[in-house]
Symmetry: C2
Subunit: 220 residues, 2 copies
């Protein structure tokens, strides 16, 4: 830990609006050491590799895949001693917060934050503490405890009929066709028909892939 040099915490600002970057830079003043700026995902990845900042202020909505994409592109070697990511977004939507935290951000603050608060957040981030406003942290806790589904990515799921969804859920949980049939009071052959439709509609080829698909989507 404690890669922070005497002079100040090395910070990279990633945002697609130059005006906003300038604003942040001005607010931070000399309390931290802004080593670079980046306007999209590619620039951000390159800047991190070149300047090795302690903390990256990361806009969530970004050309080239969004802030989460930047974190996903970090080489595994950087996992331990790489930069800490602090999401800085206008959005306070649960999906954005959860997605960003899941991608590896150490914190998430909205752009309504004041200068001193941001400095404090950066400081905490550099010490590997988490900085999430209580209101937004509630979303993360709910997601973590499994209270809410991440939902949203359900376009494929919508194409399934009600019955197909029931069968799909049981199959994904590891039920055998026979067990599904007994559970739903239908014949094995009907289960096979539904499964056939499910696999075709979801463009999968086996129940094993379905299991992974469902577990990725947290439908279990």
């Amino acid at each position: 830990m404690s890669t922070a040099p005497r002079g100040g915490i090395r910070v990279l600002i990633v945002d697609d609006h130059a005006m906003f970057r300038a604003g942040v830079r001005a607010e931070l003043g000399s309390t931290v050491d802004v080593v670079a700026e980046a306007a999209d995902v590619d620039e951000a990845v390159a800047a991190i590799a070149e300047h090795k900042p302690d903390v990256v202020l990361l806009d969530v909505h970004l050309p080239g895949g969004g802030g989460a994409e930047v974190m996903r592109r970090m080489p595994p070697a950087m996992a331990a001693d790489g930069p800490r990511f602090l999401a800085l977004s206008v959005s306070d939507a649960a999906e954005d917060v959860i997605g960003t935290i899941r991608a590896g951000a150490r914190g998430y603050v909205t752009k309504t934050i004041t200068g001193p608060e941001l400095v404090d957040a950066i400081k905490r981030g550099s010490e590997n503490d988490a900085v999430v406003s209580p209101r937004l942290a509630g979303f993360v806790l709910d997601a973590f405890a499994g209270t809410i589904e991440i939902s949203a990515v359900d376009e494929d799921l919508d194409r399934l009929t009600e019955r197909e969804r029931e069968v799909m859920r049981l199959i994904a949980r590891g039920y055998a066709y026979k067990e599904v049939a007994r559970e739903l009071f239908i014949s094995i052959k009907t289960v096979e028909t539904h499964m056939s439709s499910v696999l075709r509609k979801l463009q999968l080829s086996s129940r094993h892939e379905l299991t992974r698909w469902a577990s990725d989507r947290r439908l279990l």
Copy 2:
């Protein structure tokens, strides 16, 4: 929401030490409405049903299963408008924090907290905000992002040989026997033998159950 009456937030204190409960009650004073106390899991569950508090201050280490057990015993009907749980513990260990949050707590503070801070935490909790100290929140975020495994429950896993673990991992990911054989440069029959051992040792009966077992344990 907003079940809080004018008079104050209704609070239940759960801790096995009477002395500590008295201390908390004294610190809170008249800022909130302490409706009851409980010393173990059973008492806590009963007190919640009877007094319907807004916030439950919950000790993590508790006779009868621990604070997480109390939350697990809540009837599903209470999920939406039931009490908010705020863990109050001497422990700042990652396992305790993660386990408690996963069980459904809205917050986690250590017993070093001051009276006014606790009042503030209770207030935030009653508004469904999350209250976790930045240092501890880091643990939760790590766990959420999958950086650390919850580990610990590996007694079963230890009984597998090295080769069996390799086979298990691939099978759990959805590989067919044939694919596993090709991947490890062994015969299908050998894969079958290993799988047979794996299922026997883990007391499972099919690859589907294995998939679930592994995904529950985050071994994928």
